[in-house]
């Protein structure tokens, strides 16, 4: 079936089997491999993308189900060489080590800050509770999201 998904503002169209999962559609067709394919069971959160602004696990959504919706991936965060505050926060606070969980963490954190610009540490921990980090641990990730909350991009209002 022909499926058209709007990914980072661009309509991506492809003839796929109905069973194609969103994660594979994103990685295969436009080649956006920033979204990581992790546990495949909706537990780990590495594959989180935003669907109409809300974080969702792209391993457990059919690509066909997202037609007509806006999908946003980690590639959309950096614009013209300027990192999103959550990316900058991860850099400042050393919130990644192997980096496998990072795209999901970043998108989950972006969605949190879009909804709640000044979250408490508990709210940050709750928001990322569907994302698993196996090396850095969560302390620095929480600090990174806090850094992003305290340093919202002033030059990125247009993004």
């Amino acid at each position: 079936m022909q499926v058209t998904v709007t990914i980072n503002g661009e309509a991506v169209s492809r003839d796929v089997e109905p069973r194609t999962l969103l994660i594979h559609f994103i990685r295969d067709t436009p080649g956006l491999t920033g979204t990581h394919w992790g546990c495949d069971t909706s537990n780990c959160g590495a594959c989180v993308v935003l669907m109409d602004g809300k974080p969702v696990k792209s391993c457990t959504i059919l690509a066909a189900m997202t037609e007509g919706h806006e999908v946003r991936t980690v590639e959309s965060l950096e614009v013209d060489g300027v990192l999103d505050p959550v990316q900058q926060g991860f850099h400042e606070k050393h919130a990644l080590h192997c980096g496998f969980c990072t795209p999901g963490m970043l998108m989950t954190s972006r969605a949190l800050l879009d909804e709640n610009p000044d979250p408490s540490d508990l709210e940050i921990r709750t928001a990322i509770s569907g994302a698993i980090c196996r090396c850095t641990g969560y302390k620095n990730i929480v600090a990174a999201v806090r850094w992003a909350a305290e340093n919202p991009a002033t030059t990125r209002q247009e993004a």
Binding site: R19, T20, H24, D40, V48, T60, A64, M65
Partner: protein, 294 residues
């Protein structure tokens, strides 16, 4: 790589259209809502539908509202909306208790109440919640609607009374009037945050003055389906709430559940949990009914 087996996909544009498709396609068609139970089952080949009918566009099935003497919840209402509903929290805080421990916030953005109930997984929390608050569900088919109590809804593991060509459209929570106050609570023990329960207990108490007018107790993960502890409900009716009474109700819950040993724990541990969690849920339900606890 985990991918579901092949199937045909279509999007429903109306409830009647979805039912017509179910009718036309027969028993090999399934409704997909949030998909966070069905797609994992399909990846494991535990479910192999030949047709999926996507009802995510049916926003007319996403609502929580008070009407007459009931709270009505549309089948497409997502976990996040159940969690955040002030109306539900005011009347039945058991929903918020449960939603805080169902999966994680990202999964809760997708999963729905209709999907949870129709999945009929005995370890799932909302079925116990709906049993405890004596919910009824509306099942619609070509010939119209029928209303079924939670007690009649699940007929076995992963099996409901929803027939071919039918779909669940609404969950109805009766509100009792005439001086009766209600309290409710959900207690769960899980191996790690967001996991299915090792055991969980939902309880609701309706108090008329200082007497228990009615009680509901539903247990998750300790039987082939959600367990309604009717013998403990019978014990509670007509009594004055007390710690001794709740301990006795917990003992009955532990006796009447049917846990099996698995990776989440041995049967005697689950039986013990069923008793303790029933007691705790009743205690909190009573405190809430009496406004001693939020």
């Amino acid at each position: 790589m985990q991918t579901p087996g092949p199937f045909e996909y279509e999007r429903a544009t109306s409830v009647d259209g979805a039912i017509a498709s179910l009718q036309r396609l027969g028993p090999d068609a399934r409704i997909i809502a949030g998909g966070h139970s069905l797609l994992p089952m399909m990846k494991l080949r535990l479910a192999n539908p030949e047709h999926l009918i996507d009802i995510n566009d049916l926003t007319e099935l996403a609502y929580i509202r008070e009407e007459g003497a009931e709270i009505l919840i549309g089948a497409m209402t997502r976990h996040v909306d159940l969690l955040e509903s002030e109306l539900l929290a005011r009347h039945f805080p058991v929903f918020r208790d449960a939603e805080e421990v169902i999966a994680d916030p990202v999964v809760r953005n997708r999963g729905t109440i209709g999907g949870s109930l129709c999945q009929a997984d005995a370890a799932e929390d909302l079925s116990a919640v709906c049993s405890a608050v004596k919910a009824n569900v509306v099942i619609r088919g070509v010939d119209g609607e029928r209303v079924v109590s939670m007690g009649e809804f699940h007929v076995g593991p992963f099996m409901t009374v929803v027939g071919d060509g039918e779909m669940l459209t609404e969950v109805r929570l009766p509100l009792r009037v005439g001086g009766v106050v209600v309290g409710s609570a959900h207690e769960k023990v899980e191996r790690r945050a967001g996991d299915f329960a090792i055991a969980a207990a939902s309880a609701a108490l309706w108090l008329d003055g200082d007497t228990i007018a009615d009680a509901g107790i539903g247990l998750s993960a300790v039987g082939p389906t959600t367990i309604e502890v009717t013998r403990a409900e019978d014990l509670l009716r007509g009594q004055v709430p007390s710690e001794d009474l709740f301990v006795k109700a917990g003992e009955i819950a532990a006796e009447d559940c049917m846990p099996i040993p698995d990776g989440r724990g041995p049967a005697d541990y689950k039986r013990h949990l069923a008793g303790v969690l029933t007691k705790r849920a009743l205690r909190r339900a009573a405190a809430r009914a009496l406004h001693q606890e939020a």
